[in-house]
């Protein structure tokens, strides 16, 4: 198990810059999730750590040793991909044995068998061992490729959206399984995903990537409660944070959409044009409130409803218990939790409280 550090890593492909000055530390035994959209540089980061790409600039350290000149084989990392990660002509057993049969490892045949069997038990794929990999379902395939990673006992697990190609139910099940596995192994995971639910539910720490730059690193709750800028605010949370343009006047948030509600923080920001950020669960329907709106849409999620309210020309989302009866076009009044309002600079999008 190992500690990974990226120092000022940049990577460009011709004129395209995939990573810009990335600094990142993954502690030993940590489940670190890199969250970002397609093209944000998540996969490039993984490939740089794995040794499949050389960074244009910067250094990669594994356990404090600069591995810049090491090949992929020497770094002793395991890589699990979204697809194409199994060797198609081999059976499941052969796939699991493959990394152990490498010349650089020299594992005894008896030990290979023992380790493969143990992994098969752990992942409950014993009944599939003699099957060719093209006869596996998507979930079974990903189990096997995770197994191929575990069987080696690598220093670091690198996972590139391993669950994205699976259907929702299976994804949820494997998510839990993977997290348990990581805790049981005490392994270091660098996990890449575009799915903020995966990031929030699995990560010990999350790094949010935006166009090759690491915007914010923190625990899931830090990222959720104190997003560093509007990009992170939008990236994390479902439904996402409401972002409302307005200004602060006399301790009130005056929205350009035409309503005004009190806020607790930032008397010093008086008069400044800002963007208010508020999570849907911090807005509530309140008959006595002064802010008025019209029900635009209602989504019933079982335990709760997500209500979209049109207030002026702004659309706000809030959550309310499912028992609450609402009809579209009802006029409603709402208020929010003044302590939970985040102020972002209108121009730069930065959190004015810092993060």
């Amino acid at each position: 198990m190992a500690h990974i550090e990226l120092r000022n890593v940049s990577k460009s492909f011709g004129a395209n810059t995939a990573l810009k000055g990335l600094n990142l530390t993954v502690e030993d035994g940590q489940f670190f999730v890199l969250l970002g959209e397609t093209g944000a540089g998540k996969t490039t980061t993984l490939r740089v750590v794995a040794g499949l790409e050389k960074p244009t600039e910067g250094t990669v350290l594994i356990d404090g040793v600069d591995v810049g000149s090491w090949g992929a084989a020497e770094r002793d990392v395991a890589l699990v991909l979204q697809q194409y990660s199994l060797y198609p002509r081999y059976t499941v057993r052969e796939n699991l044995e493959f990394p152990l049969k490498s010349k650089i490892r020299r594992v005894e045949p008896a030990e290979i068998k023992e380790r493969v069997d143990r992994v098969a038990r752990t992942l409950r794929i014993e009944h599939l061992m003699d099957r060719k990999t093209d006869r596996l379902s998507g979930g079974e395939m990903q189990r096997v490729s995770i197994g191929r990673a575990i069987v080696r006992k690598p220093r670091v697990f690198l996972m590139d959206e391993p669950l994205s190609a699976l259907d929702a139910k299976l994804r949820e099940a494997l998510r839990t399984e993977l997290k348990n596995l990581q805790m049981n192994l005490g392994a270091t995971f660098l996990f890449v995903t575009h799915d903020q639910v995966e990031a929030m539910s699995m990560g010990d720490r999350i790094g949010v990537l935006d166009r090759g730059r690491l915007v914010q690193v923190g625990t899931p709750s830090e990222i959720y409660a104190r997003p560093k800028n509007t990009f992170v605010a939008r990236a994390v949370g479902s439904p996402p944070m409401n972002l409302i343009h307005g200004a602060v006047r006399d301790g009130n948030a005056v929205a350009e959409a035409g309503f005004s509600l009190p806020i607790a923080a930032a008397a010093s920001q008086d008069g400044r044009a800002v963007t208010f950020g508020v999570r849907p669960e911090d807005i509530r329907l309140d008959a006595e409130a002064t802010a008025k709106g019209r029900v635009h849409d209602v989504e019933n999620h079982g335990v709760e409803k997500i209500v979209t309210v049109a207030a002026g020309d702004a659309l706000l989302r809030l959550t309310t218990p499912a028992s609450h009866k609402l009809a579209i076009d009802d006029t409603i009044a709402f208020s929010w939790n003044p302590d939970k309002i985040i102020l972002f600079d209108r121009g730069s999008g930065l959190n004015l409280a810092g993060a």
């Binding site: 499949l52 395991a78 194409y84 198609p88 493959f98």
Partner: protein, 319 residues
């Protein structure tokens, strides 16, 4: 295809089947002609209208592999009775088997020409496909400076008819002593097939996700090991298809074989028609030589048929 066929679709299907049948007959007719002629008695080979029903003989094949000369006088009945069955077949055709001073039977030129064809075609196919695969892998997986220009250059070697360079090639070969050698023909055919093999294999290797090799690299294998353990098995279909094409090209090549070889390294294609001109043409012998010559390609293609079919459709659906 729709599960339920309409009447018009069914009618159309029947028309299509008839069309395919006619095309098949047209394509198979020359082959039938060659095969049937190679089993005919000599006097039935050139009848008009052609003889369809006859008692098949193997005398053309016997005559094909033996050196013969015209009989001046008929063999005596004792001589005829003492001769083995194959010698009698030659006597029946008005010829006798040529023997050397020790009385050993002399073979005709055909068997050695056939072996030459096999050597040259197999070795040049292995070389062209092997080098083509490695080159294609390099172009497919690595950034090669001026990649497009190199690939175009490789293809451009096919852009003029090979015979155009026959005279300069002949002069060069004579200067370095490669005329009438196996090595000379092998080099020539490998060079012809290489561009084709590079382009075809590049298409196949481009289709193999590089994730497979990268997984192997991360799993502790070198680039070479990953190539042999992961890429090559995946490319088997493409290799088979490319090998068949290269083999057929090398096997059937006529013009250069005619110019560059005379005796030691001559292949079967220039040899077979050379027999037409000596004495009265025996079409049954020529047909049997041609028939035997068809067999290796037929067998090779048959063995690789599954790969070949997949390989063809595989290439066809590429963007």
């Amino acid at each position: 295809m729709a599960a339920v066929q309409t009447t018009s679709e069914r009618a159309l299907n029947k028309v299509a089947i008839v069309g395919v049948l006619i095309a098949t007959i047209i394509f198979l007719a020359p082959i039938y002609w060659i095969v049937s002629t190679s089993f005919k008695p000599r006097n039935l080979a050139t009848t008009i209208p052609p003889t369809v029903l006859f008692e098949p003989e193997i005398s053309p094949f016997v005559k094909l592999v033996l050196r013969r000369s015209q009989l001046r006088e008929q063999p005596s009945p004792e001589e005829y009775a003492a001769a083995p069955w194959w010698e009698r077949l030659v006597f029946d055709g008005g010829e006798k088997v040529v023997r050397d001073g020790q009385g050993n039977v002399q073979l005709s030129g055909y068997p050695s020409r056939f072996v030459n064809s096999l050597i040259v075609a197999i070795v040049s196919t292995v070389l062209a496909v092997g080098m083509g695969t490695i080159t294609a892998y390099g172009f497919s997986r690595f950034k090669v400076k001026g990649e497009q220009d190199w690939l175009f250059f490789i293809l451009s070697t096919r852009m003029l008819p090979p015979v155009v360079v026959a005279i300069p090639m002949f002069l060069m070969y004579r200067a370095v002593g490669l005329n009438d050698t196996h090595l000379g023909l092998i080099i020539l055919y490998t060079a012809f097939n290489l561009s084709f093999s590079v382009w075809l294999m590049k298409g196949f290797i481009d289709e193999i996700p590089r994730e497979y090799e990268e997984a192997a690299l991360v799993d502790g294998y070198t680039r070479m090991e990953a190539f042999f353990k992961v890429v090559l098995p995946e490319a088997a279909t493409g290799i088979a298809a490319t090998a068949v094409f290269c083999f057929i090209t090398a096997w059937n090549e006529y013009a250069f074989a005619l110019i560059m070889t005379r005796r030691t390294a001559q292949t079967a294609p220039p040899f077979i028609p050379s027999q037409v001109g000596s004495g009265l043409p025996d079409w049954t012998v020529i047909a049997s030589g041609t028939f035997l010559f068809l067999l290796p390609v037929a067998i090779f293609t048959f063995l690789l048929r599954n790969h070949l079919l997949r390989g063809m459709s595989f290439g066809a659906i590429r963007k």
